[in-house]
Each structure stands twice: as structure tokens, then as C-alpha cells.
């Protein structure tokens, strides 16, 4: 008799716990949104309101005029785009080679991918800074692009390796039997199947570079070449309460690229693009 009762109590407990998690996860986000929509007058109130009384978009406009956020965003865009394209151009041939030939290099490369995930950046960033200084690349976007490419490469290679392995070798062999040359089979058979993987890797590299802070902080000392995360971090300083609105607005805008990336990836993961390729 007691069984269903405890069961129902258990369910209620589960919902309670889930609600607690959702509050913890969601409230900082809602607060950011709420702050971004408040007027300066409302921000200055002694007792902060939970929801903006007169929601305004003025903070978004203010964010761009007040500090060099637009410049920061443009520089971030240049760095992230260059980083994404360069990374894929460099990693794709290597991923193809690793997927198609077996060799000791494979193991070393995969070992390096793992090591690079856990190494403290500080140990690399000091000598790297000295190298960049010698090459006169400190305070240049080129220097930052090089650093970002190097640090995104291992994981991008890993991602692409998975996608190349998923393209069956039989397809290339079939193309060869049909008389297609090596290049032709790569271009017209392998490339279309790899396209989704390449897009995902491009996006991943773009986001990693767009969000990156520590290397940018070390490489770009000059505020005139600061990228978006640097400009945002500097935004705070000894701020008055009134400046928090534009800060929240700018933070939200800086998050948009990553959000788009995650939305795209989630759909990609489910669609199973390879499903029909071998059957035909």
C-alpha cells in the first residue's frame, strides 16, 4: 500500500531537485538579460528591480559608442575568420593522410592532441611570447592568428580525422574503378561528403578564437589592437553602476556567435548525413 505513495513522493522530490538546478543555471543568464534592458535611471535604484520596468535597447547602442567595442569586434572577426580558414586548410590534408595511411606519426599526433588539452598554457606562453617578440609579431593581429591556429589545430585535426574516417574507402575505390583520377575522386566524391565536417571544424575554430582571452591578453598589449574579449574585460574597471547596462548588452552580443555554433552543431549531430552514402 505504501509503495505508490513513496513513489509519488520520490517523483515530487525529483521535480524539486530539477527546479533547483534550473534556477541555479538560468538565473545568472536572466539577470544578464534584465540588466541589459534596464534604463540608467533604473540601474541606479538602491533596491534593484528584478525585471526592467521600461525595457530599452538603448544600452546596445551605448555599448558601441562608448568604448571601442565595434573596433574590438571587427578585430576579433578578422582574427577568428583567419584562424578558422587557416586551421582547416592546414589540418585537412593531415587528417586525410592520418585516416588513409597507418604510421607511427598517427600515434604521436594523437598523443599530442591529448597532451595539448591538459598542458598549462603558462609554460608555453612565456617562450612563445619571447619568440613572437623576436619576430616582431607582438601587438599584431598576425601574431595572435598564428598562436590561435597553433592551439586550435590539434583538436581540429582530431575532429576532421573522425569525419574523414567516416567516408568509406570503398567510395574512393569505386570512383577509381569508374576511371576517376586521384584528384577527381577527392574533389567530386570525398569533398561533398566531408563538407559538413569541414563546416563544423570551421565553426569550432572560429568560436575558439573568438572566445579566447589569455593569449590575446599576452600578445596584444596595445589597446588599439585589442580584440573583443579584451575590450570587454577592460570595460569593467572602476565602473559606476550606470555603465553596467551597456556592459551587459555588449556581453550578450559577444555570445551570439557561440550560441549559433551550438545550435548548428546540435542539429548536425542528429541528422546522420552519412546514412545513405554506402547503400546506393
Amino acid at each position: 500500500m505504501a509503495r505508490p505513495l513513496t513513489r509519488r513522493a520520490g517523483r515530487a522530490g525529483q521535480y524539486l531537485a530539477l527546479a533547483a538546478y534550473m534556477v541555479f543555471l538560468a538565473f545568472p543568464l536572466l539577470w544578464l538579460l534584465s540588466t541589459a534592458l534596464k534604463t540608467p535611471r533604473e540601474m541606479a535604484l538602491l533596491d534593484p528591480t528584478w525585471l526592467p520596468r521600461q525595457p530599452t535597447l538603448a544600452n546596445f547602442a551605448a555599448a558601441f559608442s562608448e568604448q571601442d567595442l565595434l573596433g574590438g569586434a571587427l578585430r576579433s572577426l578578422v582574427v577568428a575568420l583567419a584562424c578558422a580558414v587557416l586551421t582547416v586548410v592546414l589540418a585537412l590534408p593531415a587528417a586525410y593522410a592520418m585516416a588513409r595511411y597507418r604510421s607511427v606519426i598517427n600515434r604521436i599526433a594523437i598523443g599530442w592532441v591529448l597532451v595539448s588539452q591538459v598542458f598549462p598554457f603558462i609554460l608555453i606562453i612565456i617562450p612563445l611570447f619571447m619568440v613572437l617578440r623576436r619576430l616582431d609579431l607582438v601587438n599584431t593581429l598576425v601574431g595572435l592568428i598564428l598562436v590561435h591556429v597553433t592551439f586550435v589545430l590539434p583538436f581540429a585535426l582530431w575532429m576532421l580525422l573522425g569525419y574523414v574516417r567516416a567516408v568509406p574507402r570503398e567510395l574512393e575505390e569505386a570512383a577509381a574503378v569508374d576511371g576517376a583520377g586521384r584528384v577527381r575522386s577527392l574533389v567530386s566524391v570525398v569533398a561533398p561528403l566531408l563538407a559538413p565536417g569541414v563546416v563544423a571544424t570551421l565553426l569550432f575554430s572560429f568560436i575558439s578564437s573568438w572566445n579566447e582571452f589569455l593569449f590575446a591578453l599576452v600578445v596584444l598589449k596595445d589597446p588599439d589592437v585589442a580584440t573583443l574579449p579584451l575590450t570587454l574585460a577592460k570595460f569593467t574597471g572602476p565602473e559606476g553602476v550606470v555603465r553596467l547596462g551597456p556592459l551587459a548588452a555588449a556581453s550578450l552580443l559577444a555570445t551570439i556567435p557561440s550560441m549559433v555554433f551550438f545550435a548548428v552543431i546540435q542539429r548536425r549531430l542528429r541528422s546522420g548525413l552519412m546514412a545513405g552514402a554506402v547503400k546506393g
Binding site: 530539477l18 534593484p48 606519426i105 603558462i122 609554460l123 617562450p127 574579449p229 551587459a248
Partner: protein, 299 residues
Amino acid sequence: MTAAHARRRTAPDRGRREMLLLMLPALVPVLVFSVGPLIYGIALSLTDAQGGRDPSFVGLANFGDLLTDGDFWGSFRIGMIWALSVTVVQFAASLGLALLLNQNLRLRGLARVLAVVPWAMPPVVIGLMWRLVYHPNAGLLNSVLRDLGLIGQNIDWLNDFSLALPAVIVVGVWAGMPQTTVVLLAGLQSVPKELHEAAQMDGASVWRRFWNVTLPQLRPVIVAITSLDFVWNINQFSLVYVLTQGGPGGQTRLPMLFAYEEAFRYGFFGYAATLGVAIVVVVLAVLGLYLWRQMREAN
């Protein structure tokens, strides 16, 4: 026969050359900008390299200085408290969330999306967002606590000597929960249903089933993700730099912030490299001990 033999030998040779050629574009930047600097960095730790000067070899002198440097030990202690508490709390919270998400509950879809959102945010933005939450006058936290009657006056969370570190740890947990939850959820979903059904037939309670079926099956996943979390946490920089810059009075100065200041504020490159090496050694030792114990218990 000889022709066939020759062809068999040249084909793999050509393949190897082709492979090297294809890998070269990726290999060069990795060698020049990360393997090289890594070795250079370890070498630097044995020198007195500073801002403008040419470095000269000093052997293990930096390591000697490190052992007697009170600031380093303070930072090291804070780093260990930070990394261990974030890893443990993150794991407990994520396991709970993963277990809930694995149940057939309403709103599960929304909760799953929410659980992944922090993953998609730049660390700088996470730091700024939490500064807004912790803000003494305009912050959400003080407002809620005051409305509940729990505090009389506003607290400056990130500038309070005893509260800053716990406050920062909470942010660390929030920021790192998605990865851990997703990995644990994937682990839970790969536990064979038959095991649970068999245990249920034998009359095992929910709690016993969790303890004797789920946890042992999940063990490899748990060991892997907690190890990774620990390493990521001890290497954390951006989040705490944006939140407190290591303050107040060094109460949240993690080892990475300490090393960053030594190198780029004071210009002690050699000493900062020594710090990096020391942290790697400690991380490897802690991980080695942990993995060794886990393996021994698993056998």
C-alpha cells in the same frame, strides 16, 4: 617476380612520402609554436631570464627560490582548494543533474538546453555576468538575500577576504557543469538496462541499484572526467582574472594568475617558467596517485 617484389616495396614508400607531404602544413606550426616553445619553456626554468636581459643558466636555483617563496605557497594552497572543491562539487552536482535528465521527467528538454548553455559562453562573458550577480549594490544575489531577510546590508562578495574564494568557486562550478553533465549522461545511457532489470527482480532498492549497478558501470567515465576537470581547473585563468584579478589581497590568486603576474607584470620569465614546470609536476603527481588508486580498487 622481381617486378612484383619491387612494386610491393615502392608502393608503401610512395604512400609514406605522400603522407609526410600532406602532414607537413600542420606539423610545421605545431612544432614551431608549441612543441618548440614547450622545450624552450622547460629550459627557461633553469635560467634567470628577465624582461630585457640575456638569460644565463642558473641550474635549479629557481626551484630553490620557489620552495621558500611564501607567495607561491599561498597561491599554490588557493589553487589546490579551488581545483579540488570545484572538481568535487562539479562532479556531485553534475551526477545529480545527469541522473535527473536520464529520468522521464517533464521539462527535461528545457533543462537539457539550459545545462549546455554555459558551455557556449565565452569565459570572459561568464565572468562579467557573475560580477553583475555579485555586484554589491546592483546585484541579484544581495537583492534576493535581502528580500528573504537573510542579510541586513549589502555584501561585497568578490572583495570580501573570506567570501571571495567560495564565491569564485561557485562560478567555476557553474561554468564547468555542462561538460561533466553531458559526459556523465552519456555514460548513464550506456549502462545496459538488463542489469537494472535483473537487480530489480532480485528486489534491490533504488539506492542499492544505484550503488551496486550504476556506479560500478560508470566508474571509467567518472575517473576520466574528474581527472580532466581537475587539470582544467588547476589551469584556469580567464574566469578568475575577469572576476577578481586574484584579489582581494591575493585570496583568489590561482597559480596561473601568480605565474602570469610574475612573467608579464614583473618580467621574471625564468621564474614564471619554473612555476609552470612545478605545476605540471604537481598535476602529474596528483593525477598519477588518483589513477593508480582507482586502478587498484577496480582490480
